[in-house]
Structure formats: structure tokens, C-alpha cells
Symmetry: C2
Subunit: 244 residues, 2 copies
Amino acid sequence: MPVTDEAIVRIKEMILGGELAPGARLPKEADLAERLGLSRNSLREAVKALSLIRVLDVRQGDGTYVTSLEPELLLDTLAFVVDFHRDDTVLHFLEVRRILEPGATALAARAMPDAQVAALGELLAALPDDATLDELLANDLEFHRLIAVGSGNPVLVSLLDGISAPTTRARIWRGLTEEGAVARTREQHRAIHSALAHRDAELARALALVHVCGVERWLRDTLGDAGAALARPAASDTPGSAGT
Amino acid sequence: MPVTDEAIVRIKEMILGGELAPGARLPKEADLAERLGLSRNSLREAVKALSLIRVLDVRQGDGTYVTSLEPELLLDTLAFVVDFHRDDTVLHFLEVRRILEPGATALAARAMPDAQVAALGELLAALPDDATLDELLANDLEFHRLIAVGSGNPVLVSLLDGISAPTTRARIWRGLTEEGAVARTREQHRAIHSALAHRDAELARALALVHVCGVERWLRDTLGDAGAALARPAASDTPGSAGT
DNA sequence: GGCAAGGAGTCATCCGATGTATTTCTCGAA
DNA sequence: TTCGAGAAATACATCGGATGACTCCTTGCC
């Protein structure tokens, strides 16, 4: 194993072993390099890699620190990785969102504090009727993010945030090509908020499913058979799935 | 922005822009460094970072290549990141799994090819009655992974694989401390397999939920009130949740 | 045709030097 | 005493070059 990879493992172990607590400062490059038995250059490669995934935070002129390691930090990494996936996997991400979003919404119906539910309503009300596409997108993302936060589960927030990025582009297309989509989306948002306000978890779950499926259906139709086939290649030999 | 970070962005753009297709080979370090206008050392830091998240694949003596960028590669990265989270967030991961696992199982009930369902049954049958804890764990992980694969959604496979890692440890504890857990788990596995074989999606979904909740309930009880409070901090000001 | 030695190409690692940002300390003015 | 400018210390940022190790391909022998 290359010394750099070993350094990554060593640093990871130092963190998991408690030697380096979240927020702790690492020894300076020269010292840590000597301790791990490699050169500064190689150590820097390891630190850079751990820095990209938000495990370490390097500050020039100051020092290198362990981040808080909170689940929210998982977000940026996931989003970064997801960015690399091609458009032909959007349906797979959407399918996962179709599972997560209703679950998160149902949790929010039970756990979301009243103040946050109110804030959610204000967010919807703040959107002007003649909003631009960018405003619509931003409002939509924030709406779903608030619901995820309302679930009280930071891991859920991070995952949904991460996998929502690819579907965002899909929604951009939708806004550009389908006239009634904007009004329908706003209506669905209001309905979800209402269900949350009434603490109706089952209704909220169903509405969220309908909401996500709207995008999915549209996208599936748009991509055509090729897209549908891509969405579930493993099922190619399943009886009955070929008749589409 | 540091030159290294800029190099990461540039390389990312080269990939997203199609200049570097999946599997493509990058120019050699010296050339690429010159082209991006930085030193080899700095470039190597960027490459190392992208290598850690499985975007690039560096082979000594050969060259540096773009990986296939398939969703499966998201797996390793997610698992690596998840490793850094403390035990006090296990319940959050478990809660997400409680959402994803039933969804994946329901999908598998419809999409899983017959051959894979059969293989799933053989996996369960292959587990000896006097299996060691390690064997139980491996069999359990493989069981759930096969179901995820059966869903036909590689993104789902990766996510479930990634978030299952932390709960694995929890199941280890369970196996060590609770006598009846092993037999119960095997029984539940058989029931899930049966539901899949009968293509009963709703039953499969319910059984998966029961299965995951078994672990969750046990873990929640074990961790005690402290753990329960940690599981949903955002709800601390929700009426009724303070009565502990 | 098979195989092993040799050479070219490429990454791995190190060293030492210099540039730059941040923090801290010093010291004089108000 | 308080405060701010500037110097000093500290730590990361970046560079160029040198050497080693590994892979792959060519070449020539058997």
C-alpha cells in the first residue's frame, strides 16, 4: 500500500480512535509527517484527500483541524460525487427519492415543530406569482429541504439533499417544456404543507409520493423507452416487464 | 482558491464536459500539470483527492484513468464517509434504513428475476445451524444486498450498502447479547424470501419494515433515553416529547 | 510459438527552498 | 490604560528537481 494511502488510514484511525476528536487540531505538517514516517508532500496528498470529503479542514497560516464530522458534512461529499453521474441515471436517483421523500414527509408530520411548519407556509407564501424559473427552483429546493429538516434526521437531510441535485436539472427541463407544471407543483406544495400542519402523516406521505411521481412519470415519458429500459436493467428477463 | 482546488474543479469539468469519458486516460502528470498551470506536486494532491472518491484510478507505472463513474462506485465513498460518524448517530442511519429497506424490498418483489430469487433462497439454506457470528453477519449482509440488487436500482444498492455499515456493528452487539435474535432473524429472512418468491410486494415491504424495526427497537432500548433523545433533537420543542 | 531480458514510459516518494496567509507579540501614541 | 500599526513567529502553499518502483511493450533467443 502506498505511503499516502497508509497515511489516510492512519489519520482515519486517529480520528476513530479518539486521539483526534472533532474540532481537534492536527500536529503541523512537518511533525505529523515525521510521526507517520513519510514526507511532507505525501502527507499533504493524504490531507488533501481527507479535506475533499470534509473530514479535515485546512486553514493556511493556522493549521489543520478535524471537522465536526456531523452528518450534514456528508451532504457536500455526496453531492460532489453525485455530480459525476450521467443524465442516464437520473431515473435511478429519482426512484430513490420516491422512496425517501414520502418517508421523510411522514416523519416530519409527526416530528416537525409548529414553528417550522409555520416557516414552511411562509416560504410558500413568499413566492410571487410571476416568479422566475430560478426562484421557483430555489423555493422548491428549500421547501423540500425544510421538510427533511423537519424529520429531525440529519442523515435523511443529507441524503435527500445529495440525490436531489440531479433531479433538479430534470425539473428545470420540466419548467421549460411543460406549461401547467409550475401551477401544479405549487398546488401540491400547499397540499403537503396543509397535511403537515394537520399532523396527518399518512396523507403527507401520499402527497409526497404523488409529487415525486409527477416528475418521474414526466421524465420517464420524455426519455422514452430507452430511458425506461435504463431504469431497471436487471429486470430485463423478468416475465411481463417487456410488454411496454 | 488554491491551485490544487482549482485543479480538482478543472478535472471535474473535463470529465463532465465529455473531454474525459469514463475509462479515459489522463495525460501524464507532467503534461497535465503544465496544461493546468501548476506543479506536479500540487496536481498530485488533486488527483489523490479525486482518487479517494473513486473518480480517478491511478495505476503506478501505467497511468491515471477516469473510472467507470457508475453508481456502484458511489458505494465505497459513502461507506468511507459514513465510517467517520460516531455511534450516537447510528439511530439516524437506522431510521433511514427503515425507510429504504422496505422500499427496496417492495421493488424487488416486482423486479427481481426468478433466478435471483432462487439464489436468495439458496443463500439462506446455505447457512449452517451452528454458524459463527461472522458467518451470520456475512450471510445477513449478503441477503440484504441481494435484495437491493434485485430492486434493479444501483443507486439504491449503493445507499443501502453504505448506511448498513454502521448498523452492522449494532447487529453484532445484538448477536452477542440477545439469545433469541439469531433464530428470529433467520425466520424473518425466510419470510421475506417467501414474500419475494410469491411476488407479494406489500407483504415483502411490511416484513422488511418489521425486520429493520426489530433492530431499531432493540438498539433504542439499549441506548436508553439518551439515545432516544439524540435520535430526534429537532423535535425537542415538540409538545409531548419532553415527558421523558 | 513461447518466453525472458531489456528499455521506454509513468507514477511514487523524497528533499529543500521560497511564497503567502494568519496569528501573536511588541511598542509607541492618544 | 487602551488601542492600533507593524514586526515576528507560525503554518500552510507551491515549486523544481532527483531518484526509485512498477507496467507495458518490444525484441531476440530457444
